[in-house]
């Protein structure tokens, strides 16, 4: 087993990034004009990177599968973005943001990277404001902040519930400026299907024009992957339908190690699945747990009656309800962390206490908040002896002012009024924290091949805090990669234009073409979704929020068998040289069918419970996550053909500036 070199600079934590920037090699402006960079994916990370690299003077080509960079799934992030500005004077600092992030990540992230992230976080806000991002302001005209889960300070900047949208549009506008200058050439409705290596270095990609189906060769001196996460390996997730693992998986097959594939963030407050036709899941902001109480019926009979529509939840008395989080975790109650809340909901539903038709939902009930707030409001407004109806009315109005848009969204989807009947929620796959392994420079184990944003294994490790993902995407793109890639490219100024008519490009294109030809000519019996749904079920049941060795071994075998069946029996209608959504999906599901197996293999090795991944064999006596120091490492997998044959490399994680502590929620 080799030891991975993270290339973290020497020196004190505080000075590492500054010293690094002072000493790296630079490319002179005249030479930048002769250097080409490919950026795959145009969300927060890819969009900001493309704009900044073009700004510096490099020639940038961007690729995205959507019809416009503005549609990347970063656009769906709701809550906010963190930055250690300390505008509120509540004691925030770079160190505190660093500390909260490492702790929130269950001490499974690299200290130096996280510190750098916290350090540049303040620049992100300045940059976005200068670009015209309309962050919320207070009446004095200053930026407003709010607090997010897991921290004691107000450091979250937001734009209504559409922060991701506004940050993405900011990066997109920066891209537009460079497109207008001719420094970025955008290739929208294009999908990268392979990376091309020449003499061990990434030198280009093979892309498919999704409108004409034509394969294209694009060369560059460096390739940047910013293609997002792989939550869709579960079929159902909060990710966009097109979010895929293909770019990250193809580079893995060409030598980029894949790190911590089993790290998944599962969000407890999503709108439940309502049937087998369901295509995706919708997240409800976690802030709802501040005022809602979570429960299921105490008796299995009541649960059954509710599922069959014979009883209403409001008919159950307090004594007939099990407020299980308050019962099990009296200190934190309904505000236990995401992983704990998610697991508890699934356990009860698995035991038959679920409350919707599919048996996969628990109640999030605001009734007691209506009453509590109503009484308070009556006092404030000087209403003496208010009737219980008046109290509820006042309470509902207050809750509406806090969460009105979420209640409305819920009603649109579920067709029930959450002011009158409790909401139903269930956990869903939200964000993947594994991804391609990168060093301090954000370079993968392939020279000249970079990975940024959600597609890398992240600076966060096991369990991200809310509002950190947006921060990492923009930090990587605006402020980190533009420096680190320059150091690499300073050695490329004599390379000259890279030709695409070489054997390496030819071979890569042929491989891609053969795969496509195989898929369109297979004429099997089952659609692509048939396989994707089957894979998703294995993933959710055996590699979901609760895992054990036996289930993971079964999952590996089942995924392998499913993959073999896919290649025998999948049916892809239409041709290769036309707009063909089924063909696009087929290629992506083929990759998920490999990644899923590596995911299970990684989970099998990680014999500990941390953050979003709970290993049933490794829990404390009272059923809590048990972290084991011997697993304080990044697992980085090297591709060797079949996923089951992947070879494990370890990067030990050392904590010199932070004391590693257990977390408890009792």
């Amino acid at each position: 087993m080799s030891v991975l070199d993270s290339k973290v600079p020497k020196g004190s934590l505080k000075d590492k990034w500054t010293d690094y920037k002072d000493h790296i090699d630079l490319v002179n402006p005249a030479n930048k004009r002769n250097i080409d960079i490919i950026v795959v994916g145009t969300g927060l990370a890819g969009g900001s990177a493309a704009a900044t690299l073009a700004e510096l003077g490099y020639n940038v080509k961007t690729f995205c599968y959507q019809d416009s960079p503005r549609r990347a799934h970063s656009i769906a992030a709701q809550g906010g973005i963190n930055a250690a500005k300390n505008y509120q004077g509540d004691g925030d600092s770079t160190y505190r943001l660093f500390y909260d992030t490492v702790k929130g990540g269950d001490y499974r992230s690299r200290e130096a990277n996280v510190y750098r992230l916290a350090e540049v976080s303040t620049n992100i806000i300045d940059q976005c404001v200068a670009q015209g991002v309309p962050f919320a302001r207070d009446y004095g005209g200053l930026l407003d902040n709010r607090s997010f889960g897991g921290v004691l300070v107000s450091r979250t900047f937001y734009a209504k519930g559409q922060t991701g949208q506004q940050l993405l549009l900011g990066a997109y506008s920066a891209m537009n400026r460079q497109i207008a200058r001719g420094k970025i050439t955008p290739f929208n409705r294009h999908e990268m299907l392979d990376v091309v290596k020449v003499n061990g270095k990434a030198r280009g990609i093979i892309a498919r024009d999704l409108v004409t189906g034509k394969l294209e060769r694009h060369s560059a001196h460096a390739v940047v992957i910013a293609s997002g996460g792989y939550g869709n390996v579960y079929f159902l997730s909060t990710n966009a339908m097109g979010s895929n693992a293909t770019a990250a998986w193809k580079i893995h097959k060409k030598g980029a190690f894949f790190a911590n594939p089993c790290y998944t963030q599962i969000h407890p407050t999503c709108i439940p699945r309502s049937g087998d036709y369901q295509s995706k899941l919708t997240l409800m902001s976690e802030s709802l747990r501040n005022d809602g109480r979570i429960w299921v019926p105490k008796s299995l009979e009541d649960a059954k009656a509710i599922r069959e529509g014979k009883k209403k939840p409001t008919e159950l008395t307090e004594e007939q309800r099990d407020y299980y989080l308050e019962r099990k975790y009296p200190a934190f109650g309904n505000l236990v962390p995401r992983d704990v809340a998610s697991r508890a909901a699934k356990e009860l539903c698995d035991a038959g206490y679920g409350v919707n038709a599919t048996g996969e939902a628990v109640y999030l009930d605001f009734a007691s908040s209506f009453e509590r707030y109503g009484k308070e409001q009556a006092k404030i407004h000087g209403i003496e002896n208010p009737s219980s109806e008046k109290i509820i009315e006042l309470g509902r109005a207050l809750v509406k002012s806090k969460y009105g848009n979420l209640f409305q969204m819920y009603e649109k989807i579920v067709d029930q009024d959450p002011y009158k009947t409790p909401m139903m929620i269930y956990p869903a796959v939200h964000y993947t924290m594994g991804g391609t392994w990168v060093d301090y420079n954000l370079m993968t184990t392939v020279e000249g091949l970079y990975s940024i944003g959600e597609s890398n294994f992240s600076d966060h490790g096991a369990n991200r805090l809310g509002a950190s993902a947006l921060m990492q995407g923009l930090a990587d793109g605006y402020f980190v990669l533009p420096y680190t890639i320059g150091d690499y490219l300073s050695h490329e100024i004599r390379t000259g234009k890279i030709p695409t008519d070489t054997p390496e490009f030819e071979e890569a294109e042929k491989e891609v073409k053969d795969k496509i030809d195989f898929l369109v000519n297979n004429k099997g019996a089952h659609s692509v979704d048939y396989y994707h749904k089957k894979l998703g079920k294995i993933m959710w049941d055996k590699c979901g929020m609760s895992r054990n060795a036996e289930g993971l071994k079964q999952a590996m075998a089942e995924i392998k068998a499913l993959r073999e069946d896919f290649y025998k029996n999948v049916s892809v209608p239409g041709g290769a040289y036309e707009m063909n959504a089924e063909l696009e999906k087929a290629g992506r599901v083929a990759d998920f069918l490999e990644l899923g197996e590596l995911f299970a293999k990684d989970a099998l090795v990680r014999e500990e419970s941390a953050g979003g991944h709970f290993r049933e064999e490794y829990q404390t006596e009272d059923g809590e996550a048990q972290r084991r120091t011997e697993f304080q490492f990044v697992s980085a997998w090297e591709y060797k053909g079949e996923p089951a044959d992947a070879v494990l490399h370890k990067e030990e994680l050392v904590y010199e500036n932070i004391e590693v502590k257990e977390r408890s929620y009792k």
């Binding site: 416009s68 503005r70 549609r71 769906a76 015209g132 949208q165 506004q166 409108v211 036309e578 707009m579």
Partner: protein, 246 residues
């Protein structure tokens, strides 16, 4: 419920299209409109036919990809929603539903219900940005005070998802609600002032060049906009343009 769908099928931008009838059965009222389309496509694939192409991605109403014209309305009969948020409970058993692509000269059909909206991007390239270096050397974010009122109005304009429903709903295929929203966002913020005149002139010129029509104050765009973008943004764009020309 059981439904009859009349769908525009067109192989590619060069082929001639036509309406084709399909039957779907056992549709649940809880399905989204796009999930109903998934059911149809699964049925077509299992019969060896080619599935209906349509754009979609986030399926939570924010990416702006989905673009169907349903029973004569962009994003269908519900208000304030995109097609992915439209639910089948808006329809009745036995309904005949007509589904067409967004129709506008500047939005050529790529295949079936999928249209090319890159004209919107080109309008943005013409000036939909503030010229600031992405260097991190910008001044402190609180150094420029912005009134809450203007920040909120800018945010309302910035909420536009660029779906093109405004164009599809307009009898003139005008893009002025979209361009008005973009111009307004920057017009309301101090950072955008320096190049405001060039921005609005360039964006409007590009809009005309792309073949979008003009606004005749019918207001259909505002009614059909899934994000409630107000006509005031068109008025503000016109004021900005007047200002820029004097």
């Amino acid at each position: 419920m059981n439904l009859t769908l009349k769908i525009w099928r067109q192989k590619d931008s060069k082929s001639k299209g036509q309406m084709v009838d399909y039957k779907v059965t056992e549709i649940s009222e809880h399905m989204s409109f796009l999930e109903m389309m998934d059911v149809l496509n699964e049925q077509l694939i299992n019969n060896g036919d080619s599935p209906v192409a349509f754009d979609h991605d986030c399926r939570e109403g924010i990416c702006g990809s989905c673009s169907m014209y349903i029973n004569g309305e962009a994003h269908g009969p519900d208000r304030g929603v995109t097609t992915c948020q439209l639910h089948m409970r808006m329809f009745k058993d036995g309904d005949v539903i007509t589904i067409e692509p967004f129709r506008a000269k500047a939005f050529p059909v790529l295949k079936d219900l999928s249209v090319d909206r890159s004209a919107f991007d080109r309008i943005q390239h013409a000036g939909g940005y503030i010229s600031v270096n992405t260097s991190g050397n910008t001044q402190d974010a609180n150094a420029t005070l912005i009134s809450k009122h203007n920040a909120d109005l800018a945010m309302d304009a910035a909420t536009c998802i660029g779906c093109g429903a405004c164009v599809a709903s307009c009898k003139n295929s005008s893009a002025m609600l979209f361009v008005g929203a973009k111009v307004s966002q920057y017009a309301l913020l101090p950072q955008g002032q320096v190049e405001a005149a060039d921005r609005v002139k360039n964006m409007v010129a590009q809009m005309d060049l792309e073949g979008f029509g003009n606004c005749t104050n019918t207001g259909a765009c505002e009614v059909e906009c899934p994000k409630g973008i107000s006509l005031e943004n068109i008025a503000r764009m016109n004021r900005e343009l007047l200002k820029a020309n004097f």
